[in-house]
């Protein structure tokens, strides 16, 4: 097995630059060879994109970039037919930060179309397959980013998290997923899905790697009015503390886990106590189901954000409008473009967004969901004044079979039940792999911290990572063929 298959960024940086460049070149060849089986990339990049000759803290390494994060030199189609061949004329702030650090780019990571999905099956490029078991989902919507990192086809990856889209794929693929505080990393250049929830996050093979990349990304950005930072500061870093206090929201967790996942979760709590941390049970008492609150808000915002894809400035060219009856030709052309360009899940969510924002419905649905969101955020923030972090599972069990929800997409919503609370509250959250279930699929734990407390969250996760001594993929079967 080549050393780079399982190496972390931190380990790679201990090697000479020449070895890192050779490893990244071998990784780029592996991407071309193995991507057809995994589907983790929509486009594999080569040449200067993968190996820029730029000095910096990440020189010689290369990342996967989710296909909704803009950068010059590659197509940003968000895995949607409606943005076919769209090339951004500018770099996102996140991509700029990586370029300046000397990082290359191996490819555009596959995703659920516009980030709408939890399984990476709603892509114009077909599904992403989980490296641990190719008949299982890689999670979504950043499933391509997670699969690429887990399979050793990228040193790390950028994803975006709206309701769990970094953490759920990290869980399914057995890697670390960090969703920062809303507004700590610039969203400039991230194609919007739900603007009050979208965050650019990091997927990596270790907590130290996630910290290294996050340090480059965090900070205020004048081009994103909602990005207030602050930048990473050594003053904010925390040494592992023996007396850290964690809380388990039992009313959210209770009865929702598969038996093996429940056993793993309780085992992880014991390990936290062995670190000298205090772990309390609590009832957080949300007034409303977070998943449905998320559903209403995300659909409303998506309906607003995706209105721009009408075939005039953005979107595929109009074809032959044959729908709309007596409507004016322009409206018929818009409907033809959008119906042909958007996939079925996006169309469902756009209709739901139209429903909750329609005249007479806005107060009844959208504003009520916003009130439920404020209640949730207030309760989580209050809990985090008393505790250093909340502890939750990331998902109810290991990765589920591809196609399991093909005929009942509504049944997939509960997959996000443990991830949407942090998204709705704008709080940072980190998924840490903890072990394997009885089918050999990864399990994980999720830590949720107070706003702008990533430094503490990462220190906590790193201490737990060392205590659990689980690093995904050391013995992963798909690497043995290399």
């Amino acid at each position: 097995m080549s050393w780079w298959r399982a190496a972390t960024v931190v380990e790679a940086l201990r090697r000479p630059l020449r070895e890192r460049r050779e490893a990244t070149a071998a990784m780029a060849r592996a991407c071309v060879r193995e991507n057809p089986a995994l589907g983790c990339y929509t486009h594999v990049l080569a040449g200067d994109a993968a190996a820029p000759l730029v000095a910096g803290p990440l020189a010689g390494l290369a990342a996967a970039i989710k296909a909704n994060i803009c950068g010059v030199g590659w197509p940003n189609d968000c895995a949607s037919r409606i943005l076919t061949d769209y090339h951004s004329p500018f770099d996102s702030t996140a991509v700029t930060a990586l370029r300046e650090a000397g990082c290359g780019f191996l490819g555009l990571a596959n995703m659920d179309e516009f980030g709408m999905g939890s399984s990476c099956e709603y892509s114009n490029y077909g599904p992403v397959r989980n490296p641990w078991n190719r008949e299982r989902t890689a999670g979504g919507s950043s499933g391509g980013s997670a699969a690429a990192v887990a399979a050793g086809l990228a040193w790390f990856a950028l994803g975006s998290d709206t309701g769990g889209s970094v953490r759920l794929p990290a869980h399914c693929c057995g890697i670390v997923g960090l969703k920062p505080t809303y507004g700590r990393v610039s969203r400039y250049g991230l194609v919007p899905f739900a603007s009050s929830l979208d965050v650019i996050g990091v997927l990596a093979r270790s907590v130290a790697d996630a910290r290294l990349v996050f340090r480059l990304l965090a900070g205020p950005d004048p081009r994103d009015a909602t990005c207030a930072g602050p930048a990473w500061s050594a003053d904010r870093e925390e040494a592992p503390g023996a007396g850290w206090r964690l809380a388990v929201p039992r009313d959210l967790v209770g009865g929702a886990l598969a038996p093996v996942a429940a056993k793993d979760f309780e085992h992880n709590l014991i390990r936290c106590r062995q670190l000298g941390w205090i772990v309390d049970d609590m009832d957080i008492g949300f007034a409303a189901d977070p998943v449905r609150t998320y559903l209403v808000i995300a659909a409303a915002e998506a309906s607003s954000n995706l209105a721009r894809y009408d075939g005039s400035l953005y979107g595929i060219a109009p074809g032959n409008p044959d729908t709309g009856g007596d409507d004016p030709p322009y409206l018929r052309a818009v409907r033809e473009v959008r119906s042909r360009g958007f996939g079925p899940e996006v169309q469902r969510r756009l209709m739901l967004g139209a429903y909750v924002l329609a005249a007479g419905h806005r107060d009844r649905f959208y504003h009520r969901a916003c009130a439920a969101r404020r209640d949730l955020a207030a309760r989580m923030t209050a809990a985090l004044r008393r505790y250093d972090a909340l502890v939750l599972p990331t998902a109810a069990g290991g990765a589920w079979p591809l196609g399991a929800y093909r005929h009942d997409p509504v049944a997939m919503y509960p997959a996000d039940r443990f991830t949407v609370p942090a998204s709705l509250a704008g709080l940072p959250a980190l998924t840490l792999p903890t072990g394997l279930d009885d089918e050999g699929l990864p399990l994980s734990i999720q830590l949720v911290g107070a706003a702008r407390s990533e430094e503490k969250l990462l220190a906590m996760a790193e201490a737990l990572e060392q205590e659990l001594a689980f690093r995904a993929g050391k013995e992963a079967p798909w690497w043995r063929t290399d």
């Binding site: 809303y182 507004g183 603007s195 009050s196 009015a225 909602t226 207030a228 007034a287 409303a288 449905r292 609150t293 559903l295 209403v296 409303a300 915002e301 309906s303 607003s304 009408d310 729908t323 709309g324 818009v334 409907r335 033809e336 959008r338 119906s339 958007f342 079925p344 169309q347 469902r348 756009l350 209709m351 739901l352 967004g353 139209a354 429903y355 909750v356 924002l357 329609a358 419905h361 806005r362 009844r364 649905f365 009520r368 969901a369 916003c370 009130a371 439920a372 969101r373 404020r374 209640d375 955020a377 207030a378 923030t381 009942d408 997409p409 509504v410 509250a425 704008g426 107070a450 706003a451």
Partner: protein, 101 residues
Amino acid sequence: MSSMSLEDLARLAGLAPLPAERAVLEARMQAVTEFCAHLPCLEDPDMAGAPEAALEKTSAGDRGPGQGPRPLDRDLALANVPLLDAGLVVAPAPRPDTGTP
């Protein structure tokens, strides 16, 4: 389920009629309707606490008679409670002459 038909919704969303499975869409609308029907307590101003009060305060005066709804993005920018709590995001003051941003 609302009196709006799925065909009406499709037109509102700029899509051709019935672009996706009717049963899935109806189940989704029904789930949202039932969910919102069980939220009466959230109309209690004591329920949401300080963050809601902060939002109400910062957005006061945005909507006057005849001015129509605020742009949706404005709502979204104001929706981030942690940043509002910390005073890091401040809503722009309404213009005194028109009351609109």
